[in-house]
């Protein structure tokens, strides 16, 4: 059985960066092979990981829907080939990018093929790390496989926490079998005040831990350097590793 961990949270809270740190942690612990799934339509997990993406699954789906197909091949076969091509393989992990959301019209047929493909694909990995946007639209509509742990990332702002609370509720209403939901507070300057801990508890969220605000990380971000390459003794990386250890050992 593979371990699948999904990230969600309001935009800009650092979920992609922390998802990158988890991939690194899993690599270090030998929980390989690893599949990284970027299910945020503003995708940038590849930039955090430092890999190039040619095609997204959304683009393949769009092509399938608009019917631009070569002759002499069934639609299913052609789409299967194209979907396989969209898997980015590196020495350390594989990455698929969902990309653009659905446009106008009905996507049911294309989604069925895409969801079959994802189901088969995910069977090949020991660990699956998914980066989602707050609505978790891609994951809920396309994967029937279970999400073992959902990590909701928030900054210490009121709006971030409200979004986190809503995501927790949404996760329970979705058919994705989320086993447990945890909150990660990112970009913190100090340990959460009693007031903030109260807000978190009121929302029924369980705080897994905090990740410190870090200047080096911000510089990497500004310059577009993959934070995957941060030194391992970086305080933010250390914080993240500590909370992953609590989560999965």
């Amino acid at each position: 059985m593979s371990l699948s961990i999904a990230f969600s949270g309001k935009g800009g809270t650092g979920k992609t960066t922390i998802a990158g740190m988890l991939i690194r942690y899993l690599l270090r612990n030998g929980a390989t092979p690893i599949l990284a799934v970027d299910a945020d339509s503003n995708y940038n997990l590849n930039e955090v990981l430092g890999v190039e993406v040619d095609t997204t699954l959304g683009e393949v789906r769009e092509r399938m829907k608009t019917g631009e197909m070569p002759s002499g091949m069934t639609k299913d076969r052609y789409m299967a080939t194209k979907l396989e091509e969209a898997v980015v393989e590196t020495d350390n992990f594989d990455l698929v990018v969902m990309g653009q959301p659905e446009g106008q019209g009905c996507y049911c047929a294309a989604n069925t093929l895409l969801s079959d493909f994802l189901q088969k694909l995910t069977r090949n990995y020991a660990s699956i790390v998914m980066d989602n946007e707050a609505g978790m639209e891609h994951i809920s509509r396309l994967t029937t496989s279970n999400v073992d742990k959902l990590l909701v990332v928030s900054d210490p702002s009121r709006r971030g926490l409200q979004a986190a609370g809503r995501i927790k509720d949404l996760a329970h209403n979705l058919n994705i079998g989320v086993e447990s939901v945890y909150l990660i507070l990112n970009n913190v300057r100090e340990e959460p005040s009693e007031r903030m801990q109260g807000i978190i508890a009121d929302m029924g969220l369980e705080l897994l831990g905090t990740v410190r605000e870090d200047e080096t990380l911000q510089e990497y971000d500004l310059e577009g350097r993959p934070s995957f390459e941060l030194p391992e003794d970086n305080p933010a990386v250390q914080d993240a590793f500590a909370l992953f250890q609590r989560l999965i050992g």
């Binding site: 800009g12 339509s41 019209g105 009905c106 946007e133």
Partner: protein, 247 residues
């Protein structure tokens, strides 16, 4: 004037949308704010408590059944013109409408809720003459060409980080491909001398969001981005953004 606001998460799209809305409402304009971001933080940013938010459109299961249908035949062009007032909430002279996330409507085929959502947005943008501001999560490509042709302008918000700017550039070129030529870049949290890189295909820089100490302090306690002491700075920002879409 109908404006869509897009950009990477956390760059300040929602804050800017609320400020623009309040600025236009202050000029006695009829303003509609549409939250099409699944984080649904437009309401809280207007100062609404969670329990006072209107129900997101995708959760109106009965309405979706009635107007679009489910299973078998669905009506891809549902009637929605009579729904607008009932679904929205008035906040400080503006109408707020929440789209919500399609996933929330349950698993299975998402065509029905999606259709109602798109028809509603299209109706607001195409038929109503009001000022409409749409806070988007991703780019505009899911709106469809017909709807996009009624949008007067796209504001792309970004931070000076490469990831933010790359997202901005991607959103901008997708929108251009779909015929939305009028675009403006708004920078947030950028140092004074920072200039967007020339080689990234970004919209022309229209304005910079000023750093507001009061807002940073406020965010810890409250979600509202209104009633800040620096109102003149915010007005100037809104003027600059809107001016870039005037003929």
């Amino acid at each position: 004037m109908k404006i869509a606001v897009a950009g990477k998460g956390g760059v300040g799209k929602t804050t800017l949308t609320v400020w623009l809305g309040a600025y236009l409402a202050g000029q006695q304009k009829d303003v509609w704010l549409v939250d099409a971001d699944t984080a649904l933080s437009l309401g809280p940013a207007l100062g609404l408590a969670e329990e006072d938010l209107p129900a997101p459109l995708v959760q109106q299961q009965q309405l979706i059944q009635e107007r679009v249908g489910s299973g078998g035949f669905i009506n891809m062009n549902p009637k929605v013109d009579d729904l607008m007032e009932g679904l929205s909430r008035e906040v400080r002279g503006m109408h707020l409408l929440l789209m919500g996330t399609v996933a929330g409507a349950g698993s299975g085929c998402g065509c029905a809720p999606n259709t109602l959502l798109k028809a509603t947005l299209a109706h607001l943008l195409v038929w109503r003459a009001q000022r409409v501001l749409v806070d988007l999560e991703a780019g505009v490509e899911h709106l469809g060409r017909g709807t996009i042709s009624s949008v007067d302008g796209l504001v792309v918000v970004s931070e000076p980080s490469i990831r933010g700017l790359q997202t901005a550039s991607r959103i901008s070129s997708m929108a251009k491909d779909l015929g939305l030529q009028q675009q403006a870049l708004v920078l947030n949290r950028a140092a004074e001398g920072f200039q967007p890189p020339q080689d990234m295909a970004l919209p022309p820089l229209a304005a910079r969001i000023p750093y507001l100490h009061s807002l940073e302090e406020r965010q810890q306690q409250s979600s509202s981005v209104l009633d800040l002491p620096e109102q003149d700075l915010i007005n100037k920002l809104c003027e600059a953004v809107l001016a870039s879409f005037e003929e």
